[in-house]
Symmetry: C2
Subunit: 368 residues, 2 copies
């Protein structure tokens, strides 16, 4: 099976083997060594000297943790949203009683740093800005460096959904000034789902001191205090830690820059072949197209369910549908974390064959 959805991703054999190791005491010396090693490598990968904390939860749990650890009910918050996950981040902030302003752009487009700057000028009371780095639902990577400059230039707290970017796309947390950056084990990390990983800047810790939202399970101070003793406050997903530890070992061996380059190659290659097939990318501007997930418009003549079923049943390739309002409108190919060149080519071959079987002909194309 060639699982080409935008997470969970296939796992390398080393990672699967690591998962199946016998259980250890989560308050013992061996787990402490794993937690320490994983944390150090994540800090390197996030390019941060700040804290990186691990929570037994999904990426969405990680997003919730960012909100409840840094904000208070009634806080004015600006949510920059370019798709379903931006909306989710905003919805969490709203559920916890922030006063939310939304800066929305049409799905398929990236957020404009100038628009963020203008929104902050219009809403100077804003205390924090929520931004998605890589919007998994639309296959768009926001220009986070420039957006961060606008947010930090205005002196605001910056909470980043980096769930499907960190690890696979360049995202130097300290250099760009991200106060909380959230990712999850099953995205660009070659590990199974179960762990959210969050970086916390000194400024985020300052916000934490004043933050009045209720929290226990997701509390960063508890997590940091236990991490200093090589533990987590609550029983962690030990086997997912084993897996992440093995995956990070592979990433370090491969080199983080090489890992980013692999994703850049995959993004380029998928876009190139998809266009050659006569399909249209969903992102409005190709320079914002994601290197971890490619979103493709479903041609009017094609039934996306049938297309995906043929790819799955005939070629063993599983790709993703569109979410929410994009259901039926787009298909998405994941190329994050663990993949070989052959996995990518096989996916594209399957797509081409399935389109052919359905009888799709791009406008203006003639059969060779």
């Amino acid at each position: 099976m060639n699982l080409r959805i935008p997470g969970p991703t296939p796992l390398p054999a080393e990672v699967l083997e690591a998962e199946a190791r016998p259980m250890v005491n989560h308050r013992g010396a061996e787990f402490a060594r794993i937690l320490e090693r994983v944390t150090a490598r994540l800090k390197e990968s996030f390019r941060t000297k700040g804290d990186v904390l691990l929570l037994t939860a999904s990426g969405s749990g990680g997003l919730e943790s960012a909100i409840v650890n840094t904000l208070s009910p009634g806080d004015p918050v600006l949510a920059v949203t370019v798709g379903a996950f931006g909306d989710r981040f905003a919805a969490i902030a709203e559920a916890y009683g922030t006063r939310l302003t939304r800066l929305e752009v049409p799905w398929g487009e990236a957020a404009d740093p100038e628009a963020v700057r203008a929104a902050l000028k219009k809403h100077p009371e804003t205390v924090a800005v929520l931004v998605t780095h890589n919007e998994t639902s639309t296959g768009v990577t926001n220009p986070l460096k420039e957006i961060a400059a606008a947010v930090k230039g205005a002196g605001k707290l910056l909470l980043v959904d980096g769930v499907s970017s960190l690890g696979s796309l360049p995202c130097p947390v300290d250099e760009w000034g991200l106060d909380v950056a959230v990712t999850a084990s099953q995205k660009g990390w070659m590990a199974p789902p179960g762990l959210a990983m969050v970086s916390v800047s000194p400024e985020a810790w300052k916000a934490h001191e004043k933050a009045k939202m209720p929290r226990v399970y997701f509390d960063y101070k508890e997590a940091r205090s236990y991490a200093e003793r090589g533990q987590t406050p609550w029983t962690p997903a030990v086997s997912v830690f084993y897996a992440l530890d093995a995956a990070l070992e592979m990433m370090v061996r491969q080199g983080l820059d090489n890992f980013h380059a692999r994703h850049a190659w995959a993004g380029d290659r998928v876009r190139q072949r998809v266009k050659e097939m006569g399909l249209q990318l969903f992102p409005a501007q190709e320079r914002y197209a994601s290197n971890t997930v490619t979103a493709i418009r479903v041609p009017a003549s094609v039934d996306d369910k049938r297309l995906r079923r043929i790819m799955l049943e005939r070629y063993g390739v599983e790709i993703a549908s569109g979410q929410e309002r994009l259901n039926g409108q787009i298909i998405r190919i994941g190329h994050m974390g663990f993949f070989t060149d052959a996995d990518i080519e096989a996916t594209l071959d399957a797509l081409a064959s399935a389109l052919n079987e359905i009888g799709f002909r791009p406008v203006g194309a003639s059969r060779a």
Copy 2:
């Protein structure tokens, strides 16, 4: 390694193998079948016709979910606490702004159903009662059936920490009237940590409708709504699901009653041999001593750290220390989930040998 702490527990080979299966789409047909099968078996094991929901979190996350899904800030709540985990449940309720009354008994004792009845008479405004079924920190099993009768007789909502009881100790959720019962995959379920499992009664759903505490990640309604489509709202810990699925298959094959009987045997056997060694059980009354974890007083002449170190290094048996105020005062032997008779005997042999090496002689005992 003979891991004899009160969770995580060792895992059967079948479960370790299941964990290492390749990843699947968490929104696909295969995961839906696993979720459906796991849920059905959990309902059977909980003996409930109500809902059982699975959350990617530890047991403590499950406890938090019980609070935030059924209560509102300012709600008067009675917390029955007999140890560290009872205190934790109470602390979570307090962090979320309930008006908390504590019914505390000295650590080592069980809660008295009559005292619960009296407390509810004294505090008729109470809307919910928090109770720990099996207190892992003291090795005490509360008489939950009788406590539940007192709580439900007074018409209150009953939220139960069954983290280290459900699965291994009889705990018929519907028959006893538990509104929310929480457990976790790494306790009596022979699975790795990462999943909290909670049952939700019709009365708890009614409370949910009025409950105003903020929540997103732990929201029961989202979990139920997605479960109806064979999904979870957020990406689940898929490999822990694989493991739990395999473990439940084994439990069903063994028979749930047989599984309970195994734990009753283990509890009896450990207590018998511990007493033969001249050691004292920590629970004040043996009839409330837990069948999943045995807490033993550390004799005044024994350094518990040295004792545990000898057991670990010489015999490969890892037992647990006391928590918080019981640190240094007690040791704890876990016998929940997966164990063979030989594991139990080896643990007790190691304890006896280590005591002998330290030079411990029970008062009045002479060397054979």
